[in-house]
């Protein structure tokens, strides 16, 4: 076995051992708060076992290993449905950005260690009601206030803000310059006076995203993580941190085997659905698409292992996987007919077709909508022109609303 195979085998073994305490059965029937508490214990167990911050520096509590070990572990972890979703954003972007740009190193170290152990959670305050895709169009502002700053405005779609201790935030500090140039990047204490978090209930019934209001929230200048007016570059760095995460060709919905099983059980007009050409075609097309993504991801891992940089085709995963998950889930409901009406709000989108279906639109929007991703592919990979941008180069406060 190669070192990486040994690593994978050990990771798989550890994950198996965690199933009784943290697996799907253990989570069944828990409230979100109870599940979060279980999640914090799981995160601590991961930290103790050396599976937290796998590719982070050892002096900050990480393991000092490579990106390939990280996604290898995540690939195994993903198979079990552990309560780790609460830490995905926190450890995915804000905390790595803090490690990179935080100036008070003692403070950074303390935060990183607590985040790695599940004691503290960070959120990322980027999107606003007036724009998600157009990050530089944000309106939340910070004005100088004595030696520090005073923040006013509103963020939205902030994942896990209701459980977060800290957040990273981009705000407008100068409305008189072009929109990209007037932004500054800070961290904020989510418990500070003037911060109000209001959960948003989503179509599927859960509330992991929030509106966050800032009313005269005062922060000192040591919260600043970019030069004044230099926030856009740090925001982009945040979005670029994880180019390769463990991906799921099922689009974080059910695996195709479940659909095949369903098609074998159900009868359509007196015949097994698996014999129906329409169903067979969907299965075949879906498999071909998912197999292609799996192969792209496998090749990316091999490239990383060989010290190369994977190609841009890795960006296809979310675009094509979630779209096809949505269609396959619709079809699975079709196959169940009136039996599909029974709906369990707490069922997992990984193995329940109704849950997968009702949550699929979120997947097609969050983290970049299909249209945004297509633009990115067209512009960044294929070199096609940018969209027409009438606000380009115009001072922010002179852009027609």
């Amino acid at each position: 076995m190669t070192d990486l195979e040994t690593y994978r085998a050990k990771a798989a073994e550890w994950c198996e051992a965690m199933v009784p305490a943290f697996g799907k059965a253990a989570r069944e029937g828990l409230t979100v708060e109870e599940d979060l508490a279980l999640g914090r214990r799981y995160q601590k167990a991961k930290f103790d076992a050396g599976y937290a911050g796998i590719n982070w520096p050892t002096d900050l509590g990480g393991q000092g290993l490579g990106h390939i070990e990280k996604i290898t572990f995540e690939g195994e972890e993903m198979k079990h449905g552990f309560p780790n979703v609460y830490f995905g954003i926190s450890l995915g972007m804000p905390v790595p950005v803090l490690m990179q740009f935080g100036s008070d190193r003692e403070f950074v170290k303390e935060r990183v260690l607590k985040a790695l152990q599940g004691e503290e959670i960070w959120c990322q305050l980027f999107s606003e009601p007036s724009g998600g895709t157009d990050l530089a169009g944000l309106r939340t502002r910070a004005e100088t206030d004595g030696n520090g700053w005073k923040i006013n405005g509103q963020k939205v779609w902030t994942s896990w803000a209701q459980y977060s201790d800290y957040g990273v935030i981009v705000v407008r500090t100068d409305p008189t310059v072009a929109k990209h140039k007037g932004l500054t990047y800070f961290w904020v204490d989510m418990k500070a006076p003037g911060v109000t978090v209001r959960p948003i209930k989503l179509a599927g019934g859960d509330s992991h995203v929030n509106e966050v209001f800032f009313d005269d929230v005062k922060i000192s200048d040591d919260h600043r993580m970019s030069p004044v007016g230099g926030g856009f570059a740090v925001a982009l760095a945040t979005l670029m941190i994880e180019r390769y995460v463990a991906t799921d060709s099922a689009g974080f919905g059910p695996h195709l085997d479940l659909f095949v099983d369903l098609a074998k059980e159900v009868r359509l007009n007196g015949r097994p659905a698996i014999e129906d050409g329409r169903i067979r075609q969907q299965i075949a097309r879906n498999h071909a698409m998912r197999a292609g993504l799996d192969s792209i991801n496998r090749r990316a891992r091999l490239m990383m292992q060989a010290g190369m940089t994977p190609g841009p085709e890795g960006s296809l995963n979310k675009l094509v996987a979630v779209r096809s998950r949505q269609k396959l889930s619709e079809l699975a409901l079709d196959l169940q007919g009136t039996d599909a009406f029974a709906f369990d709000e707490h069922a997992s989108p990984k193995d329940d077709w109704a849950s997968s279906w009702i949550n699929a639109p979120t997947g097609r929007i969050a983290g970049g909508s299909d249209e945004t991703l297509l633009n990115t592919i067209a512009e960044r990979i294929l070199g096609l022109p940018q969209d027409h941008r009438p606000d380009k180069g115009i001072p922010f406060n002179q852009i027609p609303a």
Binding site: I274, E275, I283, A284, R285, R298, L302, A306, P385
Partner: protein, 364 residues
């Protein structure tokens, strides 16, 4: 077999691209369409000179002992330049059938010629929509075959064919020497494929595989060819995507390049997705040769490649507007080829069924 190309493989890709771009142009291809019974001999000469016909065959018979991965790299370039004569795929398929299932005498007789490209092989399994018919129309009786193999790609010039026939009640995979056999050229929408109906009337045939195993053997041969074709289709789709991109950057309307319109740029970005999925599946399938999941991988490769090439052909022409449908610009060459390759080695319906049967397990 790794799905990362090593240096030698990269060199094969670069060299075959260089050779094909130097030797093949669309101006050679257009006249071929207007007459049946001609193929692009510049391509076939290049294939022979470069050793592509020998590439995936055993050294003992004049081959180079490389595999499907390397052949796929060449097929990809052939697809890009639209230069695949049908022989690259079918020669390889016929040679593999003999290599895998033939006896020493059969191998010694046919493989050296197939490896050098002097002998042209063809595969004649299909009957219309049925890529592997349950009841082949060709019958074997006392070592002789009767019946007609319709629409055999490359059949017009083939020296040897591998047939699926019915021997009494059971299938049989056979070798037939085509010397002196009458065949009728099919006037096709892609005449360079040299498609022919081949009629057998008491033609001597030798068995390769008899009984129920013959169908499995035929499927394996078809899958090997399908993986080569999937690379060729991916190459064609990739070329079309690039042609569409370049045109969208050059052509202006309403004061800007048409590539700035989302209706155009998203269409091309979608093509990128189809091409990359097809490429990934094709490479994976080539690397799976000889493994249990080869047929499944080949089916997935086949389906994504067909979708990629057909879609790219449709969309690239659409993006060009009127100029896209002219004889001169030649996008119709890709359109013709994409459909030809979609039909050779079994249609999408065929591979969908093969794939689902495997995913659903026995008894589905």
């Amino acid at each position: 077999m790794s799905i990362l190309y090593d240096e030698g493989q990269q060199a094969i890709a670069t060299e075959s691209r260089r050779a094909l771009e130097a030797r093949v142009s669309k101006d050679d291809l257009l006249p071929l369409l207007q007459t049946s019974g001609r193929y692009h001999d510049g391509f076939w000469t290049t294939a022979k000179e470069q050793g592509w016909t020998a590439l995936a065959l055993p050294e003992a018979y004049g081959g180079l002992d490389l595999g499907l991965v390397e052949l796929g790299l060449i097929a990809h370039q052939a697809g890009r330049t639209l230069s695949g004569a049908p022989f690259l795929t079918s020669n390889f398929g016929a040679a593999k059938a003999i290599e895998l299932y033939g006896n020493d005498t059969q191998k010694a007789r046919w493989l050296p010629g197939l490896a050098s490209g002097e002998t042209i092989g063809a595969i004649a399994f299909a009957a219309g929509a049925d890529a592997l018919p349950d009841q082949p129309a060709i019958g074997l009786n006392a070592g002789k075959v009767e019946g007609m193999a319709p629409g055999v790609s490359g059949g017009l010039f083939a020296d040897v064919a591998i047939l699926l026939a019915l021997d009494g009640g059971t299938p049989a995979l056979l070798i037939v020497d085509l010397a002196g056999i009458e065949r009728k050229a099919v006037d096709s929408f892609d005449n360079s494929r040299c498609v022919a109906d081949i009629t057998f009337a008491g033609t001597p045939a030798e068995p390769l595989v008899t009984g129920e195993a013959a169908r499995a053997a035929a499927l394996r041969i078809l899958a090997l060819q399908a993986v080569v074709t999937a690379h060729e289709q991916t190459g064609g789709a990739e070329a079309l995507m690039e042609i569409a991109r370049d045109y969208a950057l050059t052509r202006k309307a309403f004061g800007q390049p048409i590539g700035a319109f989302q209706s155009i740029k998203h269409r091309i970005a979608e093509l990128y997705g189809l091409v990359e999925l097809a490429r990934a599946n094709a490479i994976h399938a080539a690397a799976c040769e000889g493994q249990d999941d080869f047929i499944t991988a080949a089916a997935a490769a086949r389906l994504s490649a067909t979708e990629a090439y057909d879609t790219a052909a449709r969309d690239c022409i659409q993006i060009h507007g009127g100029i896209g449908v002219t004889w001169e610009i030649g996008l119709h060459l890709h359109m013709r080829r994409s459909r030809t390759l979609a039909l050779e080695q079994g249609s999408s319906f065929f591979w969908e069924d093969i794939l689902v049967d495997r995913l659903a397990g026995a008894g589905a």
